[in-house]
């Protein structure tokens, strides 16, 4: 195995593209190194992307935010202005592993590891994040919900790297929230995770909403029917009940040791309702 730590995106893309064997991107390493040690994967080349400056920054852009793929969970949660803008996304990253893991685990890695239970992903789907991906053929943009295909599989082509996450600008009365269910309070994997982002007009009518649903399908899902239940309403009890029903209807979970199919379907709706309540309260306080 070779280890390389290029300082430019072009060099990283070239290394990945020119490798004839198996190549992996190393960001925080909290999934990759575990998989290497368990011999689940045995890469010929590991490309560390943490020395590339543009992957390490959080910046404001067009009234929204751009977060580099190698920014850690700890860095996101310590960034007061970003956290105030996207509290639900930061809630998601704050739930990933221990404080030691958060020192290393990155937003790009949490997405590209392609676990259906990744805690940052439903919140980013709800946020409407657009990815910038750079590869041998140049740069492209992709909605975050379109990157993952199934556990461990993404739509990235050979040589492509997720470079950054663009969080859109939004109105003054807007916020988001992420909730997950785990058997333990800390250091556990989501049985169900729901992110809700919403925006209200001056009358308190919901003008836009997005719902991301994790751990109940082969990948985290965008649930448009659930969001549509809120749009145009005052986010009253009837709207929230419709949101919960639509979220449960979208859940396609498996039975496993962490939760039964029936339980996960029910909880998906419960968490959507509670997350919408928290996002609503936060939006009204903004």
């Amino acid at each position: 195995m070779r280890y390389e730590a290029p300082e430019s995106l072009e060099a990283a893309v070239a290394l990945l593209n020119e490798e004839s064997g198996t190549a992996r991107v190393l960001a925080g390493g909290t999934d990759l190194i575990v998989q290497m040690r368990a011999q689940m994967i045995e890469p010929d080349l590991v490309v560390d992307i943490k020395n590339i400056d543009e992957l390490r920054t959080i910046s404001q852009e067009n009234g929204g935010w751009r977060v580099g793929a190698a920014v850690t969970g700890a860095e996101m949660n310590e960034h007061a202005a970003f956290k105030a803008a996207w509290p639900g996304v930061c809630e998601g990253t704050d739930l990933i592993g221990s404080t030691q893991i958060q020192s290393r685990a990155t937003i790009g890695g949490n997405l590209c590891n392609a676990s259906p239970a990744a805690d940052s992903v439903p919140a980013m789907i709800a946020a409407g994040v657009i990815l910038t991906i750079v590869g041998p053929g140049g740069s492209r943009e992709l909605p975050v919900e379109e990157l993952c295909v199934s556990p461990g599989k993404t739509t990235l082509a050979k040589g492509e790297i997720v470079v950054s996450f663009a969080f859109p600008a939004r109105g003054a009365v807007a916020s988001d929230a992420y909730l997950r269910l785990t058997p333990r309070t800390e250091m556990d994997i989501a049985v169900v995770g729901v992110g809700v982002s919403l925006e209200l007009d001056g009358d308190g009518t919901c003008t836009s909403a997005r719902v991301g649903l994790g751990a109940v399908a082969v990948k985290a899902l965008l649930v448009e029917e659930a969001a549509n239940a809120l749009i145009g309403t005052k986010v009253d009890d009837a709207a929230v009940a419709a949101l919960a029903a639509a979220t449960s209807a979208a859940a396609k979970p498996i039975d496993d040791k962490r939760g039964t199919k029936e339980y996960r379907i029910k909880i998906a709706g419960v968490l959507a309702k509670r997350a919408a309540g928290i996002a609503l309260e936060r939006a009204r306080q903004n």
Binding site: Y3, R37, T99, Q100, I101
Partner: protein
């Protein structure tokens, strides 16, 4: 494949080492550099026994590649005491009998120091959440939490 020649700062000293690409920072610390105070528990980032400071953040050294530490500033348990003078956290762990077998202790001390540097006056809940990634199978945690709270209090000058 040639070994990687790495230079890092460990506990204030410039250290050079050679490592294989497969070796973790934990492997390097223990097997190449004889910093055996850092313990291996799970080897998969779940238990926190191998916690060290890397560039001002506490990390599981089992989840850092040895080659990644090039130019990094590493602090291990060996650097916590000042000569024969123990750090307040170390003194309080002895005073409160906050350890039994001791395997988790170096990692918990390093993680606790990282907490108190950021938050000198944590609540008990904050201490418990911060240390959620440090498993101890002996103490039941209560004495550890009391020792950290007492050390925080003393370090604030109380």
């Amino acid at each position: 494949m040639a070994k990687y020649h790495i230079t890092a700062e460990i506990n204030g000293d410039e250290v050079e080492y050679l490592c294989e690409p497969e070796q973790t920072l934990l492997d390097v610390l223990r097997d190449e550099l004889n910093f055996t105070g850092t313990k291996e528990g799970c080897g998969s980032g779940d238990c926190g026994a191998c916690t060290v400071m890397m560039n001002g953040r506490h990390v599981c050294s089992c989840l850092v590649m040895g080659a990644e530490a090039s130019g990094a500033k590493i602090e291990t348990i060996e650097g916590m005491a000042d000569g024969d003078n123990l750090h307040t956290l170390q003194e309080k762990f002895i005073e409160h009998a906050a350890l039994q077998c001791g395997i988790c202790t170096p990692g918990i001390l390093v993680a606790s120091k990282a907490l108190l540097e950021r938050n000198p006056d944590p609540t008990e809940t904050e201490v418990r959440y911060w240390l959620a990634g440090n498993l101890c199978r002996c103490t039941g945690y209560d004495k550890i939490i009391r020792a950290v709270m007492d050390a925080a209090s003393e370090m604030r000058g109380n």
